[in-house]
């Protein structure tokens, strides 16, 4: 009996988190908890039976998101030894969460401290795996530090995302620009390769 109740409680909690993900992806993190309750099909009070505050709900959601995306990044790095494969897999992974990720990077300054940590952890996982591949590029051999190459890649991707209204106002941005972003970065990273 007790297990069933516990399972139900877990299920409701999961349902609220999944609804919060969808609502925040669509409307950003300032969306009211009432909208999340409606999306989850639970009463407004039920949210606060599972999370003491909206901040705690956001923290739990980001922790879950960070773990998921971090594991995805880890896997793609294990399976993509070359830079092109890694870049494409990275964008494919972010594309699955494009809207949510975009709100996370643009609004993280206003989010609870956990958001900053989630983002930092994600960057650490990505930076570590990218660093292992980037250190072999011509650019790195020519003295550009691998962290600078990683930051250049993230800068490029985030610039396009943050200015989505200029580049792809009506459709998901990453699928549309993957070829161009990957080609551009690869070309830059490989400049000077012939002279070696």
């Amino acid at each position: 009996m007790e297990t069933t109740r516990l399972q139900q409680k877990q299920q409701t909690r999961q349902k609220i988190l999944a609804a919060a993900y969808r609502v925040y992806a669509q409307k950003g993190f300032s969306a009211p908890t009432a909208a999340i309750a409606k999306e989850a099909g639970v009463s407004h009070g039920s949210i606060f039976a599972h999370f003491a505050s909206q901040a705690q709900l956001v923290e739990a959601l980001l922790e879950q998101f960070g773990t998921q995306l971090g594991a995805g990044l880890h896997d793609l790095a294990e399976n993509n030894a070359d830079l092109q494969g890694l870049l494409r897999a990275h964008l494919a992974l972010l594309a699955r969460h494009e809207q949510f990720y975009l709100h996370l990077i643009t609004e993280k300054g206003q989010l609870p401290p956990q958001a900053k940590l989630t983002f930092a952890n994600l960057q650490s996982v990505a930076a570590y795996h990218f660093g292992r591949v980037l250190q072999h590029t011509a650019a790195a051999q020519n003295g550009v530090p691998p962290y600078m190459l990683f930051n250049t890649w993230m800068g490029l991707v985030h610039y396009y995302l943050m200015n989505k209204e200029l580049f792809s106002p009506d459709a998901p941005l990453l699928p549309r620009y993957t070829d161009e972003l990957v080609h551009t970065f690869l070309t830059l990273a490989q400049i000077g390769e012939e002279q070696k």
Partner: protein, 91 residues
Amino acid sequence: MKTCIACGMPMQKPADFAGGDMTKDYCIYCARPDGTMQSFAEKRAGMIRFLQETQGMEKAAAAEIAEASMRKLPAWQAQFRKGAAADGDAE
């Protein structure tokens, strides 16, 4: 799947574990050359160095992130209860 108690890294294959020993709770990156687990100060310094090297972070910002990550990991709970985070600030 196990995750390292000292840094949170997922450990899947033997090579991820300290000394290749899958019964260990910490990873290859958290082990000293003799196989024992790094101390709080060693790990903290290592994480700061890692953040600086892989992301080019400023040192104080890297320290803040290193401590926030360590605060969540099972291996360092006692240190944070003692309020020892600042002790690692040597150097």
